[in-house]
Amino acid sequence: MDRNQITKWFKEPAKMANKYSLHAIYFCTGCGIIEVPPVITARWDAERFGVIPVATPRQANLFLITGYVSVKTLRAIIRTYEQMYEPKYTVGFGSCPINGGMYWDSYNTIKHLDKYIPIDGWIAGCMPRPEAIFIAVTHLWTLIDKGMANAYIRYRENYEFYRRNQEMVLGKLDWPPLHPIHSNVKAIENE
């Protein structure tokens, strides 16, 4: 928590500002959203660290994916993630977004979320408690410090691969691609 070290502010204001003003988009993707209200209200108060919930992806730079991701929610998640402005960070809650978790063999849930959108960090726990969410926020700070929180850069550079994977799962997407697509990656038609 090096918020009040003034020299750091003058050396790299963008990094410090991104660290201490994480506006999280309030979009309940899965079962973990029940943990977010206590985090942002009086009991645990995320605003101490500058984390406040905002209504639209346009104003947000942190995207909390709370819990398992069904195929239908994936469409909304991709759309919201693409409408956020760079630099943007994503945090996955629990084991379901990592590898499907207990829904590993379900026909309707997404197994590895980072095949479709890049994730900066994961929190263990079948719905992590608020303290775990704060630990995630502090880890995100260290990632930003070291410049490793570059999920959005990976998304921008490998956009064709992400787009291809998304279209393999969701079929034809009805919004235009975010970044221009070079034709060398042919979308592999799913069987």
């Binding site: 239908k72 063999d105 026909y107 980072d114 990976r154 490998n158 994977n165 393999m168 799962v169 799913n190």
Partner: protein
């Protein structure tokens, strides 16, 4: 009171098997083409609430079993709590190869989403249904997912595991 309904049903419809497992339930199994008639008959006798339509996959007998659960809000004019209500379960069997059945939305309009769901998840085609479009699933499946012969592990291996991880282009 259960007895009277049992006699009425057996008298009006032939080849109707009515059993009363306990005080609050009556199970009526009917033929495929009698379903509409029975439902209308019961609706006139104050069973005006279609609680649920569900489907059971008897894979050995190669049949689907459709279950309509009817109940009533009021008994003799005043409210009845859920326990005291009489649940009337109408069952019918249709073949698994060509699962076709008349829609009941003509009698109970609230059956529309139930029938869409059964169509989507079991593949039962309801003739005369106005909006037989997908309800929940995003993707389309050859074998509807709720059927017993749908192997979910194989499906996951074929669809999701085949999608490659996003390696960086330069690697």
């Amino acid at each position: 009171m259960n007895e009277s309904i049992k006699e009425q049903l057996e008298s009006t419809f032939k080849a109707v098997v009515v059993t009363i497992p306990d005080g609050t339930q009556i199970v009526v199994s009917v033929k495929k083409d009698q379903v509409l008639a029975v439902l209308r008959f019961l609706k006139d006798r104050r069973f005006d609430h279609l609680a649920l339509v569900s489907c059971v996959d008897w894979i050995e007998e190669k049949e689907f079993e459709l279950v309509y659960i009817l109940t009533h809000y009021t008994q003799g004019g005043e409210e009845r709590t859920d326990q005291e209500r009489l649940h009337l379960i109408v069952k019918t069997r249709i073949s698994r190869q060509s699962p076709r059945l008349e829609t009941v939305t003509g009698i109970f309009s609230n059956a529309e989403p139930y029938e869409r769901e059964i169509h989507e998840l079991f593949g039962v085609i309801f003739e005369g249904h106005k909006r037989l479009i997908p309800l929940f699933l995003e993707r389309d499946y050859e074998i509807p997912p709720f059927r017993k012969d749908f192997d979910t592990r194989k499906y996951v291996k074929d669809v999701f595991d085949k999608i490659p991880f996003v390696e960086d282009k330069d690697k």
